[in-house]
Symmetry: C2
Subunit: 183 residues, 2 copies
């Protein structure tokens, strides 16, 4: 069974109160993402730490119940952080960073390395009898197999989400196809 | 069978005539590397392209018969390049970059993404009956299996060399241990 890859560059999700401080306005949609309801906004922040900073980090919408900063391990070295590998919303022991927007700044926990995960509907997870983790085979010049978490939700577009470290290690681009093993 | 990981950050090897132009002096040793005879020098260059540049890229010694620039895919995106994945010295269709040193600059081909490879002596390759490629199992929070080339030489310290994309994708650090499968 094949599925498409979506590569996630570093990005930020904001709760309403943090959005208010950083931007003083609602998010404006730049384009829809493949996951239903999710969008890339026209808003960008700077992630700042004691060691360094990264500019032009996109905010994704809509607003969430929590503020979350998703970076790669490569970014983490630049920023001098050691974030845990986590699924969205699991922010215990996440790293603290400062976010700077055009209207203000906040210092918040919520900085993680996103786990490798597959978006799938509850219905399809049941239908295909997916376990909670699967192995993904990647072809090409730097081939291999990676373990990936299954992340079911009511509405989903079937897709493997990888960060830029995983994508670049395997020379994968947005929309490339990979193969699910174990099914 | 277990072996140690050596993580290679972006670096440059120089031929004598390019060293003369860039530095106007011989390389000075900062420290020995694990591979016999190889060393990190105290000399650094800037890699420059039409799109961007990366500063403070270390030159490794001793001088070679060819100039070679080893970068990660992450670096390649920043620089606007699409280098081939290659073993050292196989520079056909490699990318062209400008190297800037304290005494001068050169524009040269030789920019590649280094393949994942294991350094091993001819004697040990024979003794352990290594094929030309092996599979490496990586444990940890982002586990998987990668295919790796065997690179035998007369003198070698047994070690898996990965670039920073591979290391960061699997959360590996210099000196970590991984397992060889297929043997």
């Amino acid at each position: 069974m094949k599925l498409k890859v979506g590569v996630s560059n570093r990005h930020v999700h904001l709760k309403q109160s943090d959005l208010d401080i950083l931007f003083g306005q609602e998010l404006t949609k730049q384009k829809d993402l493949t996951q239903p309801g999710q969008f890339a906004s026209c808003e960008f922040v700077t992630i700042k730490t004691a060691k360094s900073e990264i500019n032009n980090v996109r905010v994704l919408g809509p607003v969430r119940d929590y503020t979350q900063i998703e970076i790669s391990k490569t970014d983490a070295y630049k920023l001098g952080l050691n974030p845990p590998v986590r699924s969205s919303g699991h922010l215990e022991n996440s790293e603290v960073v400062t976010l700077i927007g055009p209207k203000g700044s906040i210092t918040t926990n919520g900085c993680i390395i996103a786990d490798r995960h597959i978006h799938i509907t509850y219905v399809d997870k049941e239908k295909y009898n997916f376990p909670d983790k699967v192995k993904i085979k990647i072809a090409g010049e730097k081939p291999g197999i990676i373990e990936v978490n299954i992340k079911p939700s009511a509405e989903a577009f079937l897709e493997l989400h990888l960060d830029t470290d995983d994508a670049n290690a395997f020379l994968l681009k947005n929309g490339d196809e990979v193969e699910i093993l174990d099914l």
